[in-house]
């Protein structure tokens, strides 16, 4: 996400960095390039205009720190302005004082409402709440089935009624049911509609009037072009939205829509969709995204992700094992599973500063990880616990069982031994390395 914009700004700033000090004409050159970059990133041209003006005023004004180089100064100003445009602080969904909290999902066709509804329900359940999904998209064929399927996957109930064509009636019924069943969150998935479709916009208004949602969320595609502004503005003026969820942020869309929508509605972006998997919905942190636009990587998100997947107790157990050098294939398999559950390796790598550029042409083969897992799965318990017993015939058997070759197994063995050697150094042997307190395999 934002990759291309990051690259662009990076190249501009590299030019600036190489000069001794910043002249006014340099600022103008930079701003011209930033303008172009933002336009190519689909930021609305009016928003770009205001943004550039803001940056110009600040760059020429007093906000200049002595400790920074001129290039860094511009980066800082652009970064700060970006943060402000994107919304300063991260914002969460407000829960109602009297449950259930009713959330209404709105947006254009194909923006990702149904998938996002399910993802959102999953997050609430994870927080210990009892969500109910409501299939109020009665327009698109099989939209109800889609939500029911997702509900089944998550084991979250879905309120639906294939006999009615009236989403207003259905939503009110769903709300009644939620109260009876003691559901504290109700997420209503409405049909996708064009903002210029009067009839459907009126219908949305009627749903809103009848269920009185606490949160109306606009689900918007991160790849949207200049029209994002009109769409967001109309939804906000006609229906009144409380927040935005930006989807498909895992692609290479430059995501200028984020800036535009935020700017014209003044409403916070609350979540971003970052993948097809049901857990690929993340909180939106304006400062991090701004940092990312500037090519500094999104280290914070990465760390948080890692923390979520690694249970603290398990980490402690693992640490002990590492110290005692008992790190077995069983542990390696667990670690791999956890890393993979955090997303694709590529998406993880892209969050590390500097990696954006480095891995641009590198394709991480996810299959390699599948292979390693298959190999470990084909070992006996004894072999996993004590890899030293892996002789030639055992290796041949494992290769056959996992559909790999003996060479693959040899390679894995070598990697494993190297890993162990590294751990030995950490243990504080001859070289005096000491294991940091919060050490985990991930680092």
């Amino acid at each position: 996400m934002f990759d291309s914009l990051s690259e662009k700004l990076e190249s501009i700033f590299n030019k600036l960095k190489s000069r001794g000090f910043l002249k006014e004409e340099d600022v103008d050159v930079a701003l011209k390039e930033i303008r172009l970059a933002l336009l190519e990133a689909d930021v609305n041209y009016k928003v770009v205009k205001e943004f550039i003006e803001q940056v110009r005023q600040r760059a020429i004004g007093k906000e200049v720190l002595e400790s920074l180089s001129p290039g860094q100064q511009v980066i800082k100003i652009v970064h700060d302005t970006l943060c402000e445009t994107l919304g300063g602080q991260s914002s969460r969904i407000q829960l109602a004082a009297n449950p259930p909290t009713v959330i209404m999902m709105t947006g254009l066709q194909g923006s990702g409402k149904t998938t996002t509804s399910a993802k959102l329900a999953r997050i609430f359940r994870k927080e210990g709440r009892r969500p109910l999904l409501v299939a109020a998209d009665l327009q698109r064929p099989a939209a109800i089935d889609q939500l029911i399927t997702l509900g089944k996957q998550l084991d979250i109930p879905v309120f639906s009624n294939k006999d009615t064509k009236d989403p207003v009636f259905l939503s009110t019924e769903a709300l009644k049911q939620a109260k009876i069943d003691g559901r504290d969150i109700v997420i209503i998935d409405t049909a996708g509609r064009l903002h210029i479709d009067e009839d459907l916009m009126n219908q949305l208004q009627r749903i809103k009037d009848s269920v009185k949602p606490h949160e109306v969320l606009l689900v918007a595609d991160a790849m949207t072009g200049q029209d994002a502004v009109n769409m967001a503005k109309t939804f906000n003026e006609r229906i009144g939205i409380d927040g935005i969820i930006l989807t498909k942020m895992d692609g290479d869309a430059r995501g200028g829509a984020a800036l535009s929508i935020r700017h014209v509605t003044g409403k916070p972006i609350k979540y971003i969709g970052v993948g097809e998997k049901i857990d690929a919905l993340e909180q939106f942190y304006p400062d991090r995204i701004a940092t990312r636009i500037l090519g500094m990587g999104d280290v914070l998100t990465l760390i948080e992700k890692a923390q979520q997947s690694f249970d603290a107790k398990e980490a402690e157990k693992l640490q002990k094992k590492l110290i005692e050098e008992e790190f077995t294939f069983e542990d390696l398999r667990d670690q791999l599973k956890k890393i993979r559950s955090m997303g694709t390796i590529e998406s993880l790598l892209s969050m590390i500063p500097g990696m954006n550029k480095a891995i641009k042409d590198v394709k991480v083969d996810e299959k390699e990880f599948v292979k390693i897992e298959a190999i470990i799965n084909s070992m006996t318990k004894q072999e996993r616990a004590n890899p030293n017993i892996l002789n030639g015939s055992r290796r041949r058997r494992i290769a056959m069982g996992s559909g790999t070759s003996v060479a693959d197994i040899n390679r894995l063995m070598k990697q494993y031994l190297e890993m162990k050697k590294m751990l030995k150094m950490f243990k504080g042997g001859k070289k005096g390395f000491r294991l940091p307190k919060d050490f985990s395999f991930f680092q």
Partner: protein, 301 residues
């Protein structure tokens, strides 16, 4: 309502946005080089893309300097001529070679592939062709059911496996079945995928390979379905899908809702891939052959 009227009403928003803005800006003003910058802004606001816009504007500046463009009418004529030139001639889907004519549809999530297939199938059926649809989007929940509903509406047959099964196998079975049944047209749906996801693009390549295995001439048409509200990312989509399987045409959907349409120009300029179809409404017959002349004409009349 005839086709031309429908197209006109479908892209009324584009017209309103683009042409009327031009008129409003220049109604009272003298046309000079600074006018060109305002034109650039208008073009960019229509998703033309900075490069396409700059290209037009540079040319415009030249003409203004040379004194060739003095009035609003001159300016409109110039824009009309330039836009027509950029888009080239109409290139609809044409069936050729041995049966079945296989159309593979690809695109990102939510672009409108399944709906487009439904509309396309309905059109071919009404033209008297036998149509077989392959439900190779086995990933998204209820995608198969959605396609099944469309197939019923269109009066086309459908080949489907269980959700979660191998999409390449579905594609293969569909083409095999079409060969045996003597079907005219095969349309294969695929799961939406972001163009940057390497494993998913590999899967798409596999689907493509496997179709070839069943029938070497196929797929004769590889249609990229693009959402018209998409900004400049559409170019990345076209480029990367083209790298993976070789796009032969584009179906531009949701052109009725967006106030833009400029991406049509950017794609043609950057990649030369023709736009074959446009979706201009929700109805089953609201998928039309893209006609550049009429498209530009509708903008100006």
């Amino acid at each position: 309502m005839g086709f031309f009227e429908r197209l006109k009403s479908g892209i009324a928003k584009t017209k309103q946005n683009l042409i009327q803005k031009v008129e409003n800006v220049f109604q009272q003003k003298r046309i000079d080089e600074s006018s060109a910058d305002e034109i650039e802004e208008i073009l960019i606001s229509a998703d033309f893309g900075a490069q396409s816009a700059t290209e037009i504007v540079e040319l415009l500046k030249e003409k203004i300097r040379a004194g060739e463009i003095k009035t609003l009418d001159n300016l409109k004529a110039f824009l009309r001529q330039e836009m027509s030139r950029m888009l080239g001639h109409s290139q609809p889907i044409v069936f050729f070679g041995e049966r079945p004519f296989v159309i593979l549809t690809v695109g990102v999530n939510g672009a409108g592939k399944t709906t487009t297939i439904g509309k396309l199938a309905s059109r071919f059926v009404s033209e008297g062709y036998s149509v077989l649809i392959g439900a190779a989007d086995t990933f998204r929940a209820a995608a198969i059911e959605q396609l099944e509903t469309w197939a019923k509406r269109a009066g086309a047959d459908i080949i489907m496996h269980k959700s979660g099964s191998d999409p390449a196998a579905v594609a293969y079975d569909t083409v095999e079945a079409a060969k045996h049944r003597g079907i005219d047209v095969v349309i294969i749906d695929t799961a939406g995928r972001l163009q940057t996801k390497t494993p998913l693009m590999e899967e798409l390549k596999k689907i493509h390979r496997v179709i070839k295995k069943s029938f070497n001439d196929a797929p004769q048409e590889i249609l990229l379905v693009l959402d018209a509200t998409t900004g400049q990312n559409a170019i990345s989509q076209a480029r990367l899908f083209n790298d993976a399987v070789g796009i032969t045409g584009i179906a531009l959907t949701k052109l009725d809702g967006t106030a833009k349409g400029g991406i049509v120009f950017a794609i043609k300029r950057e990649l030369g891939i023709p736009v074959r179809l446009i979706g201009i409404g929700e109805g089953i017959d609201d998928l039309k052959d893209f006609n550049p002349e009429e498209f530009v004409k509708a903008l100006f009349d």
